[in-house]
Amino acid sequence: MPLYKQILYILWILILFGSCAQKRERPVIGISFETLQTEYWVASVEAVKAECERMGYDFIVAVANGDANRQFEQINNFISLGVSGIVIAPKDSHTVIPIIKAANRAGIPIAVYNRVPAKNTGEYVTVVADNLEISRNTVTYMCELAKASGKKHKALVVLGDLGDINAVNRREGFNQAVKAYPETIEVVAEVPSEWNQEKALSGVTNALQANPDISFIFTSSDFLFPAIVSAMKSADKYYPIGHPKHVVFGGFDGDAMAYRLLKEGYLDADGVQDVFYECEASVQAVIERLAGKSVETTIVDPGFVIHQDNFDEMSSKMWGASF
C-alpha cells in the first residue's frame, strides 16, 4: 500500500473514533486546586464538589501540587474540554492572572476561591474570608481572656508566608487587636513559618527558649498546630485551660485539630473560615454568571470566632468538626 493511502486510512479511523467519543449530558464545572496537602483544602474541594452536585452540575477536579505552571496547563485542559465554569484555588495571587485571562478569552466564568488575585483587568469573582477581621476578632477575644487573668502576658505569633496576602492580613488583624491592649500584651516573638511545619517547629522552639515566660500564642494557621503543640510540650507550656501553667492559645482556620483542642480544653479560641459558605458562594457565583446575572467581584466570608463559651452552638458550622 502506498504511503499516502496508509495515512488516509489512519486519518479516517481517527475521525471515526473521534466522532464516537461520548458527550457528557450535564454541564461540567472545572475545579482546580493548587494543593490538597492540608485538611483545609480537602474540606474545601469536597464542599465545592457537593455544591456542584446539589446544583445539578457535573464536575472535574485537577490538583496542581503546588506548581503554578501545571495549574495553568490544567485550566487550559478544562477550557478545551468545554467546561461551563471554573472554580479555582490558585497557587498565588499573580499566576492566577493569565489563568483568568485564558478563561475570559474562552468566555467561561471563573470564581477564584480563597485568594484575591493581584490587580488586573480580567473578569472574575473572588470569594475570600475576611482574614483581617476574623483574626482581629479572634485575637481580641484572646486578649480579653488575658486581661481577665489580671496578669501581663508576653505574646508569640506564628506568621505565614508573607508572599501570601492571606498571611499578611492575618498578621495585620493580630497586630490591630493586640495594639488595643498595650497594658496586657507585649509581643516578644514573631515566628515566620512560610507555611512550613519544620520552620514553625524550630522557630517556636527557639522563641520559647529565648522567652521562657511567654504565655500567649496565636498561629496564623491551624495546620501548624502539630509543630506548635510539640514545641510547647518540650517547653513545658502545654496545659489545659484552668491549669496555672496554661498559655492563652488561639489559631485560625477551624480545622479538625482545632476542633479537638477546643473540645479537650487546650485551645481558647479559633478563627473559623466558613468553608461551606465560601464554597457554596463560589459555585453559585459561577452559575449566576452563566445565567447572565451580574455578580459582585468580591464576596467576603465574614467567618466567626469559636471559643469555649460558644463551642456547642457553633461547632456544627466548623468544617474541621466533620473530619
Binding site: 481517527l14 473514533f17 473521534g18 457528557r24 496547563e73 499573580h94 493569565p98 508572599g163
Partner: protein, 322 residues
Amino acid sequence: MVSIKYYLSQNSIVGVCILYYVLMALVVPGFFGANNTWNLVYNFIPLLILAIGQTFVILTAGIDLSITSIVAVASVVGGYLMSADSGLFSSPLITVLVGITGMVLAGAIIGLINGIAVTRLRMPAFMVTLTSLMFFSGLAIWLTQSKSIYNLPTLLVDAPYKTLLGLPYPVYLAGLVYLVSYLILNKTLVGEWIYAVGTNVKTSWLSGVNITSTIVFVYIISGVCASLGAMIYTARLETGSPVMGQNVLLDVIGAVIIGGTSLFGGKGKLQWTAAGALLMTMLDNSLNLLGMSFFLIMIVKGAIILLTALFNQYQPKSLVHA
C-alpha cells in the same frame, strides 16, 4: 517507497503515540477536537524544548538533572531584567531582547559549569548535575528571597498567544530549536562526535574525538534549551518565579526515555524524543480530562515510563549468523 510498517518497527514510539491518541479520542470526552489539539500543542512545546536539550546529554551517556534549576534561575534572571518593578530599560523591545539574552546566557553559563565539572572533575554526570540542581535552585530562591517577580512587559506576556501565518509564536520557537538540533546532530562533526562519545568513550578518544568539548557542548545545549523553556513558562505565567518548573524533571527525562533514547548513550533520535514528549503531554491531558487525581496521574506516568523502558530493553535482537 518506505512502508509504514517498517517505519513503525524502527520508531515504535510513534506508533504508541498514534495508538494512544486514537484510544483517548475514543474514550475521553473532549479529547478529540481542534480546541484540545491546540491545547496539546501549547502544553507540548515547552516540554519538547527541554526534552531536546536532555536528549543531547543522554546521547553522550550523561544526564542533566539540573534543568529545573536552570529553568528557575533563567526565569528569575529574565524576570528581574524585564520587570517594570526593576525598570531597567524604557523601551519594551529592548527590555524583552535584553531579558531573553540574559536568560539564554544564564542557561548557557550553568550548562558550561556542568560540562566543565563533568569533564574536569571526572565525576559522574548524575552527581555533578544533582549538586548543581541543589545549588542553583537554592540560588534562585536566595536571590529572590523566595518572592516571585511580576509586572513583565506586555510584549513578552502576549507573545504566547500571538500568531504568524496561523501558528502561535511558541510553535516557531520549538520548530527552530528542533531544526537547529536536527542539523547539529545529523549534519555536523560535533553531532557525529556526540553519538560516538555516547557509544564508547575509549574508542572515541583513540579515534581523535575531542571528548571534552563534545561533553561541554551538550551541557551548554541542555542549559540553553532549559532557558528557552523557561522563557515560555515565564511568559505564559506572567511571572518570574524561583520555583518555576520544579516538577518538570520527571516529564522531561520520561519523554526522552519512553522515546527510546538509551540511558547508556549513543542511541536515540530527535523524533523519538518529540514523540515521547507528545505522549507525556497526551497522558497528562487525557488523564486530566478523565478527572483523575494528580497523584494517580503520577502513578500512571511512572508506570508507563517503566513499561516503555522495559519494552525498549526487550525488543527482539537481530539474529547473529555464524
